[in-house]
């Protein structure tokens, strides 16, 4: 077995896609699809701070910083939800934009003060640079996906309960708040792992899109997770192969575009929930309903209507 750069990146993106699909399913069902986006943006100041404090460019250090501020961002969201009168969307937008602003200010400071060092590379975290993935990065992604999968398998029943009926979960005596925190943590870990490869803006996409696409195909959680993981993995594979084949195409955005294509396909063609299916079904239903209503109404109302 020989690892060319492409196979390495392939492993990385496929594993990332699978993990994001699994975790994203819960995020999607909990209506937390954009929490990943916020965490990703909140991670940016952490990257910069970790660099400023330790002056080290090792990925482990930077990502630890990112994870810490990412989680802080998630906490800030739930704090604001409790203490301020602002609504969910405003809270998401606020935390996201302030964290991003702080991140950019720190990045610019680092650039201006460390002109000779490679601090400017922090910028690549915004778009991501999958093509330069190293074996260590892939191992890290693999470790994360194994850890996330184990947690999800162990806590499957509890997370399922939380996703579908939080109040019932509480009433049954499960620690819903702590489970919610666990889910946040899983999201944060996935997002942070994805940062170097697909960047701040697009990691959120990997969490949302496969899960949303999978939702069209099934009504069962287990199937939804499997399909989301499949779509995530497939997007990773196809996107990476495309970017290897086409010159000068960045991997991260191509992975996301593949995922969105798969989303559109699911949205159009999935049975029962798909658009085409529903168009036909809706017309049939309308026709049936019209047949039912019209004969009774025509007697008295036709003249008034016409």
């Amino acid at each position: 077995m020989f690892l060319t750069q492409t196979t390495l990146v392939l492993w990385g993106t496929v594993l990332l896609g699978i993990t994001a699909g699994l975790v994203g399913t819960f995020a999607y069902l909990r209506r937390r699809a954009l929490a990943g986006d916020v965490i990703a943006h909140a991670a940016l100041p952490g990257l910069c701070l970790a660099f400023l404090i330790t002056q080290s460019r090792s990925m482990g250090v930077l990502l630890t910083g990112a994870l810490l501020t990412g989680i802080a961002g998630a906490f800030l969201m739930s704090l604001l939800r409790r203490i301020s009168r602002l609504r969910e969307d405003a809270i998401l937008g606020t935390v996201l934009s302030i964290a991003y602003g702080l991140g950019i200010a720190l990045t610019r400071t680092i650039q201006n003060h460390h002109r000779n060092e490679r601090g400017a590379d922090l910028e690549s975290f915004i778009i991501g640079r999958a093509a330069t993935m190293l074996a260590g990065d892939v191992l890290q992604i693999a470790a994360t996906s194994v850890a996330c999968s184990i947690v999800i398998v162990l806590m499957y029943k509890e997370l399922k309960l939380l996703s579908f009926d939080e109040s019932f979960c509480r009433v049954q005596g499960w620690p819903a708040t702590r489970l919610d925190l666990l889910l946040m943590l899983l999201t944060a870990v996935t997002v942070i792992t994805g940062l170097p490869a697909v960047g701040v803006v697009l990691t959120a996409a990997l969490l949302v899109i496969p899960a949303a696409a999978a939702r069209f195909w099934t009504d069962r959680l287990s199937w939804m997770m499997a399909i989301a993981a499949g779509i995530g993995g497939a997007s990773g594979a196809i996107g990476t192969l495309l970017s290897a084949r086409l010159d000068q195409m960045p991997t991260g955005p191509l992975v996301v575009l593949t995922a969105s294509t798969l989303f559109v396909v699911s949205w159009m063609f999935a049975p029962k929930r798909g658009w085409l299916w529903n168009r036909g079904a809706a017309q049939e239903e309308l026709a049936a309903a019209a047949k039912e209503i019209l004969p009774t109404n025509t007697a008295g109302d036709t003249e008034v209507v016409s």
Binding site: L34, S84, G93, G101, E123, P253, L254, F263
Partner: protein
């Protein structure tokens, strides 16, 4: 630098003499002051325009649309580049505007037809468009399409990029920002009533015959326009200028007109403070403006007059103290009732009646300051005023017990606790209603006399 000096000879800078005076006073070169003024002007205009539309985004729960629009603008710019192969400001602007509108429409469409939750559909649309934009831009060989500028914005550059406009030498960004501001203000004035109605009560607006979708899409178009013109200057951080000042204003007021003013002022203060801070730290103006906005929001959340955290804590503590004090009064009154005469109680005893704790400590002060409790030699006693107050409380308590007994199937030992909580909130009006409903009761369910209304 030379080009600017040359231009300046042909076209005057507005308020040139004023700027020179300031430059002399500060001991800086005139160019520096002109650049500073340009940057502050551009930043302020950006902030004001964004804050105005941001308020409506916030009220209509569409805050995330600003985020989505700012990302998908990249796709519009990239798409125009793909079609024309050139970088002209006007088609790029139109392309970006179109991308913004497409984002808003596609988000709604996926949300409606696919029954995808709205936040997810926003996430799907803008990330896909952004990915498309990044792909196209990275394909653009040899052409300078500045991704950095879109991502981070560069207020400093926008403020220094002077171009002759209408016989004045002004920052180029003014050409899009001023029309955007004017269009926004005209839109707000023309559609003020409709915007207010559809923002606060869309169902009512629809029943009155206003077209809610029409207003929604007009609003979205205006937001897209504002976002695109502001993004020239602040990049993706336009989100911060859209949402955060509106949030600050929302914390501080409940009136729409006032909210707009506060948002505009706080937005402009953010960019101004961001500018000076960035000069010191040699950092990004837009980024620091967002940080300042965050600090302002945190302050507003803490100290806002009505909805602020501190004020809410203060009110809750006041209520706790009042309840504890009233418990003392009612307790002393009951003892007096049983004994047939006033029974003095030690101050620590009063605190025990109040349930101890911080509230209990302050409760005794609360009572003596109001002259409800007379303390002498460490013993406390109800004053005349205090007795009347306590009589009202006990009356409320027993009326409520009787009313509960009459209307709910509760065992007698379950009546006291709810009445103990309710007695603090029953005033003379409710007392009268209860009394009417109870048909002039003389005693409560436990057989104790309900005291008369104190004179």
């Amino acid at each position: 630098m030379n080009a600017i000096v040359l231009l300046a000879e042909q076209v005057p800078v507005p308020f040139a003499s004023g700027l020179s005076t300031i430059a002399e006073w500060l001991g800086q070169s005139r160019l520096t002051v002109e650049n500073a003024a340009g940057t502050l002007l551009v930043g302020g205009l950006c902030a004001a325009t964004c804050a105005l539309v941001g308020c409506f985004l916030l009220l209509r729960r569409m805050s995330l649309l600003g985020d989505a629009l700012s990302h998908s603008v990249l796709a519009g710019v990239a798409g125009v580049f793909l079609l024309t192969g050139r970088i002209d400001p006007v088609p790029m602007f139109l392309g970006a505007l179109l991308a913004g509108i497409v984002t808003a429409v596609a988000t709604q469409f996926i949300h409606r037809t696919g029954s995808v939750p709205e936040d997810s559909s926003i996430g799907i649309v803008f990330t896909s468009l952004f990915a498309f934009g990044v792909v196209v831009i990275s394909r653009a060989k040899g052409v300078h399409l500045d991704l950095d500028c879109v991502l981070f914005g560069d207020v400093a550059f926008a403020g220094m990029n002077f171009k002759p406009t209408l016989n004045w030498l002004l920052p180029e960004a003014i050409r899009t920002l001023v029309p955007a501001l004017i269009i926004t203000i005209v839109f707000l004035i023309l559609c003020w009533k409709e915007l207010q109605l559809t923002s606060f009560d869309p169902v009512h607006a629809a029943t009155l015959g206003f077209s809610v979708p029409l207003i929604h899409y007009l609003m979205t178009t205006v937001v897209a326009m504002v976002t695109v013109s502001a993004m020239n200057v602040v990049g993706l951080l336009v989100v911060a200028l859209l949402i955060v000042p509106a949030c600050i204003a929302r914390m501080l007021t409940d009136r729409l007109g006032r909210m707009l003013w506060i948002a505009v002022l706080s937005g402009m203060s953010c960019t101004t403070a961001g500018y000076f801070w960035a000069l010191r730290l040699n950092s990004s103006i837009a980024g620091l403006a967002a940080v300042v906005a965050g600090a302002e929001l945190a302050t507003a959340i803490l100290v806002a007059p009505k909805h602020g955290l501190l004020d809410r804590l203060r009110r809750s503590l006041q209520l706790k103290i009042r309840i504890a004090a009233e418990d003392v009064l009612a307790g002393l009154f009951r003892r007096m009732e049983r004994a047939g005469e006033a029974v003095p109680e030690s101050v620590p005893g009063c605190r025990t009646l109040a349930g101890n704790g911080v509230a209990g400590h302050f409760a005794v002060h609360w009572l003596s300051r109001r002259g409800l409790l007379v303390t002498a030699n460490g013993m406390a006693q109800l004053s005349d005023k205090g007795r009347r107050y306590a009589q009202g409380l006990v009356r409320s308590h027993r009326l409520w017990e009787s009313w509960l007994d009459q209307n709910f199937d509760l065992p007698p030992d379950h009546l006291h606790a709810p009445a103990e909580a309710m007695e603090h909130f029953i005033g003379p009006v409710i007392q009268r209603q209860l009394e009417d409903d109870l048909d002039q009761p003389g005693a409560d369910p436990h057989g104790r006399e309900i005291p008369e209304i104190p004179e």
